[in-house]
Amino acid sequence: MDWKLPLRGKPPRTSRRSLHWTAFASLAAALLGWWLVSRFAGLPAFILPAPEQVAVRFWKALTDGSLLVHTAATLTEVLLGLLAGTIAAVTLGYAIAKSRLFEQLVSPYLVATQAIPIVAIAPLLVIWFGPGIFSKVLICALIVFFPVLVNTVVGVRAVPRPFHDLMHSLRATRGQIIRMLEVPAALPVLLGGLRVGATLSVIGAVVGELVGSDHGLGFLVNVGRGQYDTALVFVAVFTLIALALALYGLVSFLERKLLIWQEAFER
């Protein structure tokens, strides 16, 4: 009685094209569901506007230029905050990964900054740093900071000892070890943190805008809510989602480019 082993090869490749189709199909399904609910659930438009109402509102906001202006404002805050938060997190995270003492000294404070509800300290930030873009960038950076920091620590700590031995036997400098060993080795985990950070950064900027601002998509949300123009709220929220997805896509793109050596990214 012959018998063949169940084989475990590489999983079958799903072509790019078919992936795009499934994504498209699931989007269409979501839209249809929304349309059906808005049509038959009997909710007033200021609670749930129909897709076509939102589309019209979107077109209006787009053509009068306001959507672009506010998106640009938010995007600026997001990008600056993401940049600042990431740089701070990677630097501090590296120091923490390298020194238990430093970790014990600073980590309670870092955790503390994460536990303070931003809305509670936003006024302080405004007092200290003024009401302009800086305070929003700061809030954004604060939110981005922690996930990137933690993943930096985890990633750097997990660098296998034999690689360190190799670098030391070759008399690599501290800078070379960082650049040629620790950065590439920690990159998968670090990029995971950046994925989280990138999506959170959008929230960060919006929280800052919601707290008090006269521009940005968070401001548009406030305006829409104040005027019971729920379609405008939807337009702003969808634009925020699009921003977050774009940033997320950027990080995914970086992953595919930088981690081709990982098996998972070969497929």
């Binding site: 009685m1 012959d2 018998w3 063949k4 082993l5 169940p6 084989l7 475990r8 090869g9 000892r161």
Partner: protein, 246 residues
């Protein structure tokens, strides 16, 4: 004559490669009888490890097929890199196959003791893999491949980084296990001497893509010992193998 336990038929495999593709094995066919000890020799990169991985069901051949008689066999495998799980102690790595079979912890411990003695790791049961020397890690991997009493052993250079003494000791033990427990063994090695001391048959693969170049019966009497190296027949077999590899 008995029926073969393993029939390998025209197996080829091609890996996708950055610049095109790479043929690693080319129409490899052979059969293995029950309780036969077969060694596989061949130059580096000739597809020896790939062949074992295919037989263990870890890779799908591009074409060709293989089958085991008597249903899916229990496999004991030693990989070329010792791949111990870093979160398990030496002992826990050895007992992994038993855990997977649902054997009780105390029975697993009892059975592991014998193997720890066999590979000479007394006192290192609770060491983490990172604290073991290269040879010790390899011995843990060997013990792990034997503990669950497998039907077939697939060994990929199991004695690669063992000192001469330990290696000879392991040869003897492996021969005993093989004879006592009626195992079938397929072992990759790069030592001609080792293959002649242990094997019933030696397969030699060619340079990439690996094809079977020589299928040599080793008709030396058993039990064999290191001294046999200096007999004429041993020398003749060694010469033929060397020629095939070279």
């Amino acid at each position: 004559m008995t029926d073969p336990i393993l029939i390998v038929h025209d197996i080829s495999i091609t890996f996708p490669d950055r610049n095109g593709s790479l043929d690693a094995l080319d129409t490899v066919s052979f059969t293995v009888l029950p309780r036969e000890f077969v060694c596989v020799l061949g130059p580096s990169g000739s597809g020896k490890s790939t062949l074992l991985r295919i037989l263990a069901g870890l890779l799908e051949p591009t074409s060709g097929s293989f089958s085991f008689a008597g249903g899916r066999p229990k496999i004991g495998m030693v990989f070329q890199q010792s791949n111990l799980m870093p979160w398990r102690t030496a002992l826990e790595n050895i007992t992994l196959p038993l855990e997977l079979q649902g054997v009780q912890a105390d029975e697993a411990h009892a059975r592991s003791q014998e193997l720890i003695d066999l590979v000479g790791l007394q006192g290192f049961e609770s060491s983490w893999p990172r604290d073991l020397s290269g040879g010790m890690a390899q011995r843990v991997a060997i013990a792990r491949a034997l503990i669950h009493d497998p039907d077939i052993l697939l060994l990929d250079e199991p004695f690669g980084s063992l000192d001469a003494l330990t290696r000879e000791h392991m040869w003897t033990e492996l021969s005993h296990i093989w004879q006592r427990r009626q195992k079938t063994v397929l072992m990759v090695t790069h030592s001609i001497g080792e293959s002649l001391i242990l094997a019933d048959r030696v397969l030699v693969l060619t340079q990439r893509p690996g094809k079977i170049k020589l299928d040599l019966e080793v008709d030396l009497p058993r039990p064999r010992a290191d001294e046999m190296r200096y007999t004429a027949h041993f020398g003749e077999l060694a010469r033929r193998l060397k020629e095939a590899i070279g």
